[in-house]
Amino acid sequence: MERSARFWRVVLLAAPVAVFSVLVIWPLFSSFYYSFTNWNGFSSDYDFVGFTNYSKVVTDKLFLNAALNTVVWMVAAILVPTLLGLGLALLIDSRVPGGTVFKSIFYLPICLSAVVVGQIWVWIYQPNWGLLNTVVSAVTGYKLSYAWLAKPDTALGAVIVAWSWQQTGLSMVIYLAGLTSISEDLLEVCEIEGASVWQRIRLVIIPLLTPATVVVIALSVINSLKGFDILYIMTGGGPFHSSDTLAMHMYNESFKKYLMGYGSAISVVLFLIALTIIRVYFRQLKRVDEIYG
C-alpha cells in the first residue's frame, strides 16, 4: 500500500513539480544570484558586490515608502472587494428578479483590459470634465476641480477604488456559490428562533461562508499583485512616488534606472515578506481545515 502510494506520488507530482521548478523556481534563484551583483541589465559584465544591495534596501527611503504603500494597498485590496463582494452576493442571493443580469454587470469589469480600464478611470478623475467632479459639482452645486490622481494624498486611494471596482465581481461570484451551499432549513430554524436579519448574517451565514472567504482572500492577494498593470497605467507610482508599491519600485529600479542588481534584491525581500505572510495565512487555513474540513 505505502509503496504504491509512493509510486503514485512520484507519477502525479512529476509534471507539476517539473514545470514549476524550471519555469518559476529556477528563474527566482537567478534573481537571487543577481541581487549580489551590480548588473545593469544591458552589460555582460558585472561585479559581485556582496550585501551592498541589501544594505541599500534598508536605507532606501523610497523602499520604505513603497513598503508602506504596499501594506495599504494589500489591506485595502483584500478588505474592500471582499466586503463589497459579500454584500452584493447577499443582495443578489435574496432572489431578486434579474439575478444573472446583475451578476454579469458586476463581473464585467474583470473582462476589460487593464489598459483601457486605467484610461477610463483617468477620465473619471479628470479634474475639469471628469465624471466624478462633474457629478459632485452637479449634486452639491459647488464647482469641484480637485485633481484626484495628481495629488499625493489621494492618488493611491483613487487607484484602490478603481481596482476594487474591477475585482469586486470576483469575490461576489465566489460568495454567491458559497451561499447556495448553506441549507435553507438552518436559516428557517434561526428565523423561527427569532434571530434578526443582522444576527442571521453575522452569526450563521458569515461563519458558514468561511471556506469561501479563504478562497476569496487567496484570490485577492494574488490579484493585488496583478494590480500592477492598473497602477502602472493610472499613476505609474506617481505623483513623485506617492503611489509606489514594492512591485512598482522594483520595476522602476530594474527597468527605468537599470539597476538590475538592486531591483533583484528588492524582489528577494518582497518574496521573503510574502513567504512570511503566506505562512501566517496557512496557519489560519489549517485552523479552518480542522473546523470545516
Binding site: 502510494a5 503514485w8 514549476f20 432572489r95 474583470i110 489598459v115 483601457v116 451551499s181 428565523e191
Partner: protein, 286 residues
C-alpha cells in the same frame, strides 16, 4: 439560502425588503456600469470629440468608425486567433497540473509535502517582472522566442500555484472513505482521481477555468516580451500598440477592448452555472 428577510412575515402586510433590495442593487449597478459606459462611449467617439472633453456626454450620432476600423483589420483577426491559441491550452494545462498536485497534497501527503506545497503556493506572491529576464534567456536558448509556445508554458507554470491551492482545498472536502472504498475495489490512484475526486470537484474546475481564461486572455506582458512578429501578437498587445509614442487612439482602443472582453464574458456566463453546484470546499461535504 432563502431571501434573508422576506420569508416568514405575514403575507398581508406590506413587505418593504424585496423592493429595497432591488432598488439598492439597481443603484449599485448604475454605479458599477458608469466606468464601463465610459469605455462604450469612448468607442463610439472620435479622438477629436474625446480631446475636446466630450467623453461623458451622450453622442449626437453614433460613430462606428472605430469598430469598422478594427473589424476590417486582418491583423486584429490574427490577434484573436493567437490569443485563443495561447489561452485555451494554457488554461487547460494549468488546471490539469493543479489537479495532479492538489490531489497528492490532499490525499497522499508525505513528509515534507507541507513545505513543498508552501513553496508552490508562494509562487503566487511575486510580481512576474522578477522572472522576465531568466525566462526570456531560457526560451531564447531553446529557440522558442517569437512562437506562441513560451507564452503557453509560462502561463501554465504561473497558474500552477492557484490551481494547486484550489484543487487541494476541494479534494480535502472529498471524504477519504470514498477513496479507500475505491482502492479496496481495486482502483488505482489515477482512477480515484479521475472518477471519484474530479467529478465531485467540477465546480472548482469551472471556477479555475473562468479565472485562468480571463487572466491569461488579458495579460500583455508575456506575449509582448516573448514574441516579435506582428503575426504572433495577442489581442492585448494589439490594444497597447494602437497608441504611438506621440499619438493617441482612445476610440479604437476602447472599441477593441470591448470586443476583446466578449470571449471572457461568454466563458463566465457559460461556467457560472457550474459554480452554483457547490463552489467551496465545505460545499460537497454533505
Amino acid at each position: 439560502m432563502a431571501d434573508v428577510a422576506a420569508s416568514g412575515m405575514p403575507s398581508r402586510e406590506f413587505n418593504p425588503w424585496p423592493a429595497t433590495i432591488l432598488v439598492s442593487l439597481l443603484c449599485l449597478a448604475v454605479l458599477f456600469l458608469a466606468p464601463t459606459a465610459g469605455v462604450l462611449l469612448s468607442s463610439i467617439k472620435t479622438t477629436r470629440e474625446i480631446a475636446f472633453g466630450q467623453l461623458w456626454e451622450m453622442p449626437d450620432k453614433l460613430f462606428l468608425g472605430n469598430f469598422a476600423e478594427i473589424l476590417n483589420n486582418p491583423a486584429v483577426h490574427r490577434y484573436f486567433l493567437n490569443t485563443f491559441l495561447v489561452t485555451v491550452p494554457a488554461t487547460a494545462a494549468s488546471i490539469a497540473l493543479g489537479l495532479l498536485g492538489g490531489y497528492v497534497f490532499s490525499k497522499l501527503p508525505f513528509r515534507g509535502s507541507d513545505i513543498l506545497f508552501l513553496i508552490i503556493v508562494s509562487g503566487m506572491f511575486f510580481p512576474p517582472q522578477v522572472i522576465l529576464i531568466p525566462l526570456f534567456r531560457l526560451f531564447n536558448a531553446v529557440g522558442l522566442i517569437d512562437t506562441l509556445w513560451p507564452i503557453i508554458f509560462v502561463h501554465t507554470a504561473l497558474g500552477i500555484p492557484i490551481c494547486t491551492l484550489l484543487m487541494r482545498n476541494f479534494f480535502s472536502a472529498v471524504p477519504n472513505a470514498l477513496r479507500e472504498a475505491a482502492i479496496l475495489e481495486g482502483a488505482n490512484e489515477w482512477q480515484v482521481l479521475a472518477r471519484v475526486a474530479l467529478p465531485l470537484s467540477l465546480p472548482a474546475v469551472a471556477v479555475l477555468a473562468t479565472l485562468q481564461f480571463t487572466w491569461i486572455w488579458n495579460d500583455f506582458l508575456w506575449p509582448l516580451i516573448l514574441t516579435n512578429s506582428d503575426n504572433k501578437r495577442t489581442i492585448m498587445v494589439g490594444i497597447v500598440n494602437l497608441k504611438g509614442q506621440y499619438s493617441v487612439a482612445w476610440g479604437v482602443q476602447g472599441a477593441l477592448s470591448l470586443i476583446a472582453s466578449l470571449p471572457t464574458l461568454i466563458v463566465f456566463l457559460f461556467f457560472q452555472r457550474y459554480f452554483i453546484k457547490g463552489m467551496t470546499m465545505g460545499a460537497v461535504k454533505g
